[in-house]
Every structure is written in C-alpha cells, then in structure tokens.
Amino acid sequence: MGTEESFCPSEEEIEKWMSSAFDMARQALQNGEVPVGCLLVYNHEVVGKGRNEVNETKNATRHAEMVALDQLQDWCRHSNLDVRCVCERTALYVTVEPCIMCAAALRLFKLPVVVFGCRNDRFGGCGSVLDVASADLPLTGNTFKCVSGHRAEEAVEMLKTFYRQENPNAPKPKTRKE
C-alpha cells in the first residue's frame, strides 16, 4: 500500500486535467449528450477518455467511467504494460461524482484516487448515496481516495441545462418542488 498512499496528483495537475474534463463535458452538452467529462491520467498522459454510451449500446452500464476503463486496458495492451501497475499510479478526473456501480468498478481496478466536481445526489457512490469508495469490502478491490468539489457549481449547471433539454432517454432528475 505504501506507494499507493503517497500517490496523489498535485494542485496544478488537478487544475489542468479537470479543465480538460470540463471541456469534454461541455462538448457533450453541445451534442445533446450527458454532460460528464471523464479522463484517466497515467504518468502525465491520458490513457482513457470516456463519454456515456448507454443509448447507442443499449447497455445501461456504459457510463463514461466504464468506457474510460476499457480504453485504459486497451492502452496497456498496446503499450505492453501491466494493467495493475498502471492503475496503481493512475488518477480519474471526472466532472460528476461516480455512481455506485462505477465507484465499485474503480475499486476493482484498484485505482488509488478520484478527483471529481459536483456530487451525484441520485446515484453517487463516493458518499452521496453510499460511500463505496471507502467501504469495508474485502472482496471488492481496494478503497480509493476522493478529492471533491473542484468547479462543482459549473458541473451542476451543465447537468441542469441537460435535463432541461429533456432528453427522452434520460431519467428525469428529481425535481424538488420549490
């Protein structure tokens, strides 16, 4: 665990990669897609970059994080590197807190750290609905560290705009009666 504990991106890295993640999210929003940006970064290089592919695959588990994890595996294969060794020093940057499923997937890949923007009140697996990130689940990979709140309001705004556009395939957000 020693090296994993000490692995954490610097402030500048967070600033830089989250800014790319937000660019991705904004692009998605302009294309009428779920505005979530998601990057896996290893050794200053993007090794996975995902967008939500639920609709085209008819598979409700194809969240941006799951797609990015597949890309990471492909990248490792092409670079002839061991997935486990790469994951140990890879960070996920994502504009919205990963859901319960994706948080568990990140544990199974043994990623040490996740940087995210806003909370995910409907499905969040890093504390909002459940805290899968730090739960005691010995058969489900490793716990990971969360760095949260980076440009959170901006991420929320994008989600709100998206749901206002009324994607017929997207579940309606919980509308709080005000």
């Binding site: 568990a104 199974l108 697996g125 689940l137």
Partner: protein, 340 residues
C-alpha cells in the same frame, strides 16, 4: 480435515429440495425496537373511555399510532391496563406516582399503581415482527399478505418453482463452463418474467476483464440480443443470447436503454455492489440468487434493491438451488487455497 463431499444431485434432484426466501429491507427484517412507557391498571372499567380521551389529549404519544392504548390482561384482578405516557415524555419525578404523572385536572381514582413497560417503538411490517411486538404490548398490524407468504417460503407454486429450478440449473451449468476456463464459478441467466423465455446466459469472464462478472456479461448479452452491446463473448460457448422474434422486436422501442425491464435474473451467487447497481441502472424486474456472498449487495453488505434514495427498486429472493450454488462457491475456495 477432509471436507465432507456432498453428493452432486444434479437435475434429478427436485425443486422441493430447496426453499426460496425474500430478501427484505432492513426495516422489514430488523428486530423489534422497544421504548419505555408508564402504564397503570384500570380499577373501574366504566371510566375507561373517559380516561382514554383525557390521556390521549394530555399525552398524545405521537409517532406511536400503531400502539393500542389499552390492553387486556388475563388472570388479573384488573383485566385492563392503560398506557399513560412514554417515560421520556413524563415529568421528572422523585417517586413514581400517579399524582406526579397526571395533573390535578385529570380525575384518576379509577387508575391503580403505575408501572414501567416496554412497548414496540415502530409499527410491525411483517408477521414475525407483529408476533414479537405482541409479547410486549399489543399493536395494530397492516399485513402485507404476500410478504407473509413469502417469509414462509410458500410464495411460489410448484410449477413456478419448477421453472425457477430449470433456470438456475442453466446458471449452474454456465458457472461450471466458466470455471473450467479458469474463471470464477458464477453463472447467470436472464429470463422474460411473463414469457419464461431465456434471453441470455452468461458466466464470469473476469480472467479477461476485471469487470466481467457474470451479471455484467449477461447485461451486455441482453443488449446484444437487441442489436446493442459493447463486447463479444462469442469465444465462450456457454455465453449465449437469443434475439427476440422479429415480430416482437418491432414492439421494443429502439431507443429504450433500460433493457432489463420486465426481466428476471437468476444468478448462482449474490451479486457484488457493482453488479447490483448495474441491475438498478438496467431496471431489472426480479433477482433470484442461490447463495450469499460476503461482499454481496443484495442482502449481505448492502440491500441495493431497497436502498431509499435510488430510483428503481426490485424484489430479491435467495435460496434457489441454494445447496448446489453453495457447493460451487466452496469448491472454488478449496481451489484457491491450493493456488496460493
């Protein structure tokens, strides 16, 4: 110690060899919680309704509407006892006495010496909870008949159990096929709950991909069956899907991503948290599993199917071919111990 080998009973073992139980929410399955109250015998039965009226305006016991204020006591000189108030609502007293519990306005010479009792803090949701509650103080009970029958393991008819048996046998067969290829011995089957038609059969493939648990494989095979999907499991003969008949295919809106709506899942082992949440996202109808898992998320570590904040809930049953499913898992543990 030589582990006792259970005889592999296989398909000749009938569907009466196992019992299926519902996996209920924590509220439904937890033990009774009690709260302390003061009660007193009614000395003059004729005063009962007046006492009740005055007591309930004085001490409304809010949140305890399930509690009957009066109970009958057999074999006592005073056959009725009435709840005065909760201990936490009572005024502070040096000595327990009716005078200090009730203000002078209330005429209480019809009441005997007050005493402490423990009463059920929450309304009973299941018959076992109701029976347990009644040992302390009588409560009302709005029985969910289906839950009562399910808890007795009698919810399903013999023919329903026979088809559950068949589907779990397919899941077991798939699990064994996967395990022969070095995968975890877990198999799963997706079935249309009204049509009984098998949509997909899959097994664990995590040797290739750490997330390809049997449930995730099945979810993608269901997507494949509807011209979607992200992976090819064609190299695994035991991972299969059945495309819907061309006439029914038209009736499935092509944009609908929640493809497991109206489907049942049979899986040999309780799904992990990732798979359980994947089933929420896929809007699965019901889940049947054979045996529990230490990290399981449909009963053991979590009960994702009853999780309050989530937007989809579903029924979960355990114990279908429980022994055979358990055998798979324990056999695997033996292998693992040899491996390391």
């Amino acid at each position: 110690m030589e582990p006792q080998r259970k005889r592999w009973k296989g398909s000749e073992c009938g569907s009466d060899s196992w019992t299926v139980y519902p996996v209920l929410s924590d509220e439904q399955s937890k033990d009774l919680e009690l709260v302390e109250a003061f009660a007193a015998p009614v000395l003059n039965k004729k005063e009962t309704s007046r006492l009740l009226r005055e007591l309930s305006s004085l001490y409304p016991m809010s949140g305890l509407q399930h509690i009957k204020r009066v109970r009958a006591v057999k074999g006592s000189p005073h056959p009725l006892e009435v709840l005065l108030c909760l201990v936490r609502d009572a005024p502070h007293m040096e000595v327990l006495s009716i005078d200090s519990l009730l203000p002078s306005g209330v005429k209480h010479d019809a009441l005997g010496e007050p005493f402490r009792v423990k009463i059920p803090a929450r309304p009973p949701l299941t018959r076992p909870q109701f029976e347990q509650a009644g040992k302390h103080w009588p409560t009302s009970f709005h029985e969910d008949k289906q839950v009562t029958v399910a808890l007795r393991g009698e919810l399903f008819t013999a023919s329903q159990k026979a088809s559950m048996h068949t589907h779990m046998m397919s899941a077991l067969t798939a699990a064994k096929a996967g395990s022969e290829l070095g995968m975890d011995a877990v198999g799963a089957v997706v079935v249309g709950s009204s049509t009984e038609k098998v949509i997909a059969v899959g097994h664990d493939c995590r040797g290739d991909h750490p997330l390809h648990h049997a449930v995730m494989v099945c979810i993608d095979l269901v997507a494949r069956s509807q011209a979607g999907g992200s992976y090819y499991f064609d190299q695994y003969p035991a991972c299969t899907f059945t495309p819907p008949a061309s006439d029914t295919f038209q009736s499935i809106p092509s944009s609908l991503p929640y493809i497991c709506t109206g489907y049942d899942l049979y899986v040999t082992r309780e799904p992990c948290i990732m798979c359980a949440m994947a089933l929420v996202h896929s809007r699965i109808g019901r889940v049947f599993y054979g045996t529990a898992s230490a990290d399981g998320a449909l009963g053991s570590k979590y009960k994702i199917h009853t999780q309050k904040d989530l937007n989809h809930h579903f029924e979960v049953y355990r114990g279908v071919l429980g022994e055979q499913c358990e055998d798979l898992t324990s056999k695997e543990e033996v292998y693992r111990k040899v491996d390391y």
